[in-house]
Amino acid sequence: MAASPYQILGVSENATPDEIKKAYRKKARENHPDLNPNDPSAAERMNQINDAYDRLMNPQKYASRDHASSQGGYSQGASGYQGTAGTGYQGSGGYQSTGGYQWQTGSWGAGSSRGSSQGSSQGGSQQGYAGPYGWSSDFGFNFDDLFGMGFGSTTAAPEPSASDSAEVRQAISYINAGRHAEAARILNAIPSYGRDARWHYLAALANHGAGNEMLALDQIRRACEMEPNNMTYRQAAQSMRQPATSYQQQAEQRGFSVGFIDPFTACCGCIALQSCCYPVMCFRPF
């Protein structure tokens, strides 16, 4: 009979993130294997505590396991965002040099593609909690995992339209399959006269997913400029700017002043009106 994550951490189901973090700290200090050298079950307890914390703080990771195929923004394969049952958090040591990004990973990244149950200090199948300096010698980085959309993506998946060329359709299906770099490559092959607003929108999605942030933000801006009344493009723009918006909000809530342009004092500062109030639009109307 498994304990719930709340029970493991000793918090109520209404606990705030801050409370969860404090609870974690308390449990970690009590159960840290380094502090309990004669207790062989300390490692296992630590794993459970880590896992419980991860489930509470990153619920979308576990939801994504069930909805992986419908989330256009998630990268494929055993990435850090698709946990398998029982092993909890995949991020550590879950790197694979799948070469999906086609870069020269060289000798350091030459590890073979590893299943998600591998990695240094994860889950029950492993050697247990390896301590804070637990060695994880796998540095097979997967760029999609590091720089791809990951969790928090609310960008709607693109849908093919009747007037799309074959290349565009292919690009769309790559985007929806999480193969953003390939989608970008196809779109880049389309010459300039074929680069309408829709091209810019799709290229923005592809580049955003591939972690080409500067290009993606520029492309979605151009898509909106070319077709100012297109709600799909606007929503995509808003979604791509979401981290910037949240960052600004969080900074203000915590009493820090960030950057220079402060859209929410210029706009109404009301989150409910976000739908009509795009962060950068205040300073450059489309």
Binding site: Y53, G91, G93, S137, F139, F141, E213, Q250, G259
Partner: protein, 293 residues
């Protein structure tokens, strides 16, 4: 050496300020003890974030001692000692050594050559202890240099078509940023155990931020030297550049705020939410006051 991941002193109370310096001094002390006096040139505030974050997350346990030193001859000051401070010191060597190499390659600055020889011994020892980090840094920095070198030449030689030029410049900038992000990713996440993944993602975004912020700060300098700078080539408006930077930092903070951090939390937040903008803000103020003068 980045001069970007700095705390915003105004948002710290006296204790936090003291703590910030304590870790900085700890890095300096660690460098001196383990690599000799000359290595202290590597000390910088940016790496304090590495020490703070790892200590807060892992809670290895720290000691605080006091001493006098050349920089603080008058009275004793506190300095922190811990495995994470040592690690931050080691990573300082890594970045400083490569920066010197870059400076030497770029401008043939004699001082850079002297420093890189002096740091060479320290770097070899760091490399022996952290072969993956150093191999990765060497590889990615070489790739970055190669991209920038090619771009510098191609933009000097041709009269490129505007749109193509802009897109290509941005794509290359994104690639360079990701490669640099890979280095910082491994620096933050090494030996991270359970937290390796989160730290790697956080580190990756920090690296990208540093690259773009550095480019933004160097706009004038790069215009004069002809070095590749995407903001120059694309004539990026201020708000677009800032949107980019905030997007990246937003992603970094999304990871950060999910970590179970307690110790030094406000100090780290003062770096990530405010301090990282300080130099840019100062530069803008100077620019604006020059314009209105």
């Amino acid at each position: 050496m980045f001069g970007i991941l700095l705390a915003n002193i105004d948002s710290l109370d006296a204790e936090e300020n003291g703590r910030y310096r304590e870790v900085y001094c700890g890095i300096c002390h660690s460098l001196k003890e383990r690599y000799g006096q000359v290595s202290r040139v590597c000390v910088n505030y940016d790496m304090v974030l590495v020490a703070l974050l790892r200590e807060s997350l892992f809670e290895h346990g720290e000691e605080v001692s006091h001493a006098r030193c050349l920089a603080h001859p008058a009275k004793q000051h506190h300095y922190a000692q811990s495995p994470d401070v040592d690690y931050a010191a080691d990573m300082s060597v890594l970045f400083a050594y490569h920066k010197c190499l870059d400076d030497w390659n770029d401008d043939k600055r004699k001082a850079a050559k002297v420093y890189s020889s002096a740091l060479g011994r320290a770097y070899r020892r760091v490399k022996a202890q952290y072969p993956e980090q150093c191999a990765l840094a060497e590889q990615e920095l070489a790739a970055i240099r190669s991209i920038e070198g090619k771009l510098k030449r191609s933009y000097q030689d041709q009269e490129p078509d505007q749109e193509h030029c802009r897109d290509a410049a941005m794509a290359q900038a994104d690639e360079i940023a990701k490669r640099f992000g890979l280095i910082t990713s491994i620096v933050f996440s090494a030996d991270g155990g359970w937290w390796q993944g989160d730290l790697a993602e956080f580190g990756a975004e920090i690296g990208r931020f540093v690259y773009f912020m550095d480019a933004l700060l160097d706009i004038q300098e790069d215009k004069e030297s002809g070095s590749f700078n995407p903001f120059n080539l694309c004539e990026t408006p201020d708000e677009d550049a800032e949107l980019l930077l905030k997007s990246i930092m937003g992603r970094a903070l999304d990871r950060f705020e999910r970590l179970p951090l307690e110790r030094d939390l406000n100090l780290m937040r003062s770096i990530l939410y405010a301090g990282v903008w300080q130099r840019l803000r100062a530069q803008r103020q100077e620019r604006d006051s020059e314009r209105s003068a």
